[in-house]
Amino acid sequence: MARKKKTDWSKDVFKVLKKADVQQIAYVPDAGHTSLIKMAIADNVIKPVSLTSEQEGVAVLSGAWLGGEAGALLMQSSGVGNVINMLGMANECRFPLLMLVTMRGEWGEFNPWQVPMGQATEGVLEASGVIVHRVDEPSEIAETVEAAAKLAFEGGRMVAVLIGQRVVGFKDWTK
């Protein structure tokens, strides 16, 4: 049941991104984003960009906007700690920025190393001037992303949707 839910929200979120005319999806892989990344790669219009570090994604999407396209950055909460300086550019230039962040280091976390960054994620985003929408109900993810996309692309703001670990769980791919 949990897996079905997961697929469902990813599909709905993807529809929302398409409707918002997102054409570039930059990502550092995370288990919680697996379905979305697959859909982005399979899509004929969306250009998927795999990154070595999340800060590249903030720069790519700044360029996307400068070049006339909308984009979204997918990452895990630990990646938020890699983008803080680059967010200074998006903040200074008031570039729209849409980030979908799957949380680690909170609900039921089993790896202690994830906890410090997970607990700091919301705080550092807010310290960087990013508007944060947090969502813990699978049924509310798509509408939250839709609202965040409007705030980002029409309101001209940096917006992060934090998807709770309670929703994404954690699939251990090494098992």
Binding site: Q55, S78, G79, V80, G81, N82, V83, I84, N85, M86, L87, G88, M89, N91, E92, P112, W113, V115, P116, M117, A120, G123, V124, E126, A127, S128, G129
Partner: protein, 176 residues
């Protein structure tokens, strides 16, 4: 030692001497104008190894390694660099590894370059959100004692500590 009232005194003299006294062996940095004099003194000192980084997060990792290997180090960075370290700082918190860092501020007192302002204004909240203890200092004569206190907190009490040195002291980028 030159008197603090002397016109030729600069805080970097005392801080460099303090580094020697407390046994700093590794100095990792991304260059910055506000730290230039301290960097010159450290580079000239054969008792410590100066390492230039491509990005500040490398320095956090190096400081973890220094401590794991039994040496003390210090990370010197501009405030912009703090935004490159946040994820790596989680390792220091998780392992409770000491970290002494000196952060030279931009984007605050008298800043004239707008691009520095967002990160400068985020520096202290981002550090605090990452659970780094922040000592902010905005008078040159108080820098050495602040670094000394921070070093104790870092190396004796095993904490991550940042001494944030105000742009009011360095004057970097605030002269138009």
């Amino acid at each position: 030692m030159v008197s603090k009232k002397s016109k030729t005194w600069h805080w970097s003299q005392d801080v460099h001497q303090l580094f020697k006294k407390i046994g700093i062996k590794q100095v990792a940095y991304v260059p910055d104008g506000g730290l230039a004099k301290l960097l010159e003194r450290c580079q000239a000192d054969k008792s410590m190894r100066s390492v230039v980084l491509t990005t500040e997060e490398e320095g956090v990792a190096q400081m973890a390694g220094a401590w794991l290997g039994g040496q003390r180090g210090v990370l010197l960075t501009q405030s912009g660099g703090v935004g490159n370290c946040i994820n790596m700082l989680s390792m220091m918190q998780e392992c409770r590894i000491p970290l002494l860092s000196l952060v030279s501020m931009r984007g605050e007192w008298g800043e004239t370059f707008p691009w520095q302002v967002p990160m400068g204004q985020s520096t202290i909240p981002a550090l605090e959100a990452a659970k780094v203890i922040v000592h902010h200092v905005d008078q040159a004569e108080k820098v050495p004692e602040t670094v000394q206190a921070a070093a104790k907190l870092a190396f004796d009490a095993n904490r991550a500590v940042a001494v944030v040195i105000s742009q009011r002291i360095s004057g970097s980028g605030s002269k138009g």
